[in-house]
Symmetry: C2
């Protein structure tokens, strides 16, 4: 692809800009970080990619469905000022009133069936908008359906932020590593359990460690899904089904959470320079099968999986081309997750 | 991008295959590994990407310029059987007789001026072929010229294998991480010095360690460029000029090789759980400047840069989006380098 650097203020430059209307569904931390990132990158997107945009739709449980066909001011959105918006009654009316070219879905995970996110994404594609999600639910419950629908409508269903924040994992293999067979992977992909185990290593009880993780804003008020490994299992299913052509369901993942890990086990590991992590793994088996596991594992300190602390995460892929390719992200923030949405948006509009 | 799975043997499937003529310049270890990989992936390229190919040109210092318009048999090429080939007198005649759609350049590095590789790549682009290189020389000496020429001819100049074998670094940022600003990087990117330092850590003298690296096939018969950090400096220039819009020349890299490292320094490091590596680094400075360095550094054992052994390598990027993104490749082989050429080929033909 060739990028033409355009003078932002010249008539000629402006003429080359392609403009897109964006609709953001879910306006919590990730949605707000995405708007802030759009604001910061506005000029770069114009100059480097010839891409302009307006946010013409926004929705959340609290706000309802809002549209503003001439575009919200991003700074006002961030300040919570939604004046002059039109109220829509549902996702489809919101997409129509906002004339959305791309919808960004950042609602919270429903591990059981991916709803209502799946419905929102389906609506977007049916109405001709790219469907971009930061949510694992739709990937696990409707990857094939939404991918096929997107192809039929010449739009894209993309979800880079669903795993490892916005670090390119899905796009790495899709765009940069074609014709590679992934034989398996191992990773530490859940921050909450990572933080809890580290707090326990430093001497805290399990309950105190959970409270600490909650105070740090890492664990949710009900951290059960993290502690029991459900969140990690959902990520394993997303990775295997997209990257390894698996057909797994969440219950197919052999899963053990961290509740059984004792202070004595952690101390014993430390004494030999080892550490415990909740490890996600998958491996290709004969007959097209994939085995997938989430479980606490005792790791040697020079294992790349042992090196991640706090909200950092790591994944090690075994492929037919390269015995081990390891991707590590250290200290991601909300902007990293928001970036995945932006990268997906650019992928979608660069390819269509 | 949508992939249509095509039945390899049906009329309909075959009709959808786009066919390309390939010309391979340089038929040493990498060139041979590339032909072997093409052979192994032939059916996958047809089925998954609708891409067919024939190798219609091949050249090396020993063979001269050979063309076979109806295509060499890959197995015969690997067996050293070049029967029925036409002799061409130079690169241009070879490209013309082979009707090349893509040229793969795998000649050895000329750090001083990138020749003759630059000339071959220029010829390929001028004659309408994609120019794909496993060679750092052309990236360092002619990146802008060849990129501009490729754009003008609607072809691609790609070189993923030039740094970290075939692991996606250039394509990672080009394809999967758009609109990211790289603020700097640190990496261990030279295998020869890595192996020598490890041998010295185990008690060998410098000269014995060099001989050991040569026996392992890692160091060349004249290992000066590796030992003095020239190879690493060339990689730093390639990375900064492509990924950080630098305009560095090799002499702009502050460079110190490993010859001065003593057994005592290595022992002292080991005694505190540390290790020495030849570290490549670059950092954005005010006024659009970039500082770049190659030097031996003493690293703590939990530093990701300390974790790579033998021919493995690692790079840690600092970006505006993510504080640290780390890519590690463990135990790459020749096939990994060959894969970079294949990935570039697919990138070129998927985008044109």
């Amino acid at each position: 692809m060739t990028f033409t650097i355009m003078g932002g203020s010249t008539q000629q430059g402006e003429a080359a800009i392609r403009n897109y209307n964006l609709c953001i569904v879910g306006f919590g931390n990730v949605g707000k970080a995405f708007v802030a990132l759009l604001d910061r990158k506005t000029q770069e997107l114009r100059n480097r990619y010839g891409v302009g945009f307006r946010v013409t739709g926004i929705a959340s449980r609290r706000l309802g469905w809002l549209a503003k066909p001439d575009g919200f001011e991003l700074q006002k959105l961030l300040a919570g000022d939604f004046a002059d918006a039109v109220n829509a009654s549902d996702i489809r009316e919101c997409l129509r009133l906002s004339a959305a070219d791309a919808m960004f879905e950042t609602t919270s995970l429903n591990a059981a069936n991916g709803k209502p996110a799946v419905d929102y994404l389906r609506a977007a594609l049916e109405m001709g908008a790219h469907a971009i999600s930061a949510n694992k639910g739709p990937v696990v419950h409707a990857y094939q359906e939404l991918t096929d629908l997107a192809a039929a409508r010449h739009r894209r269903f993309l979800f880079e932020s669903a795993v490892m924040d916005g670090v390119p994992i899905f796009s790495l293999f899709r765009e940069a590593m074609p014709a590679v067979e992934i034989r398996g992977f191992r990773g530490v992909l859940n921050s909450t359990t990572n933080v809890i185990l580290e707090c326990m290593e430093s001497g805290m009880s399990f309950d105190d460690a959970v409270r600490q993780a909650q105070e740090l804003g890492v664990a949710e008020s009900d951290p059960t899904d993290d502690i029991e490994g459900v969140d990690a299992a959902v990520k394993v299913v997303a990775l295997t089904n997209v990257l390894m052509e698996g057909k797994l369901k969440i219950d197919d993942v052999r899963r053990q959470g961290i509740r059984g890990i004792t202070a004595a086990q952690l101390r014993s590991a430390r004494s030999t320079g080892e550490t415990w992590k909740l490890v996600c793994s998958a491996k290709r088996k004969p007959y097209g099968l994939i085995s997938a596991t989430v479980q606490p594992e005792r790791l040697k300190l020079d294992d790349p999986l042992a090196q991640v602390h706090g909200t950092s995460s790591v994944i090690r892929f075994e492929t037919d081309i390269l015995p081990q390719l390891i991707i590590t992200e250290q200290n991601p923030g909300l902007e990293t997750t928001a970036y995945g949405l932006l990268a997906d948006f650019l992928t979608a509009v660069r390819s269509s």
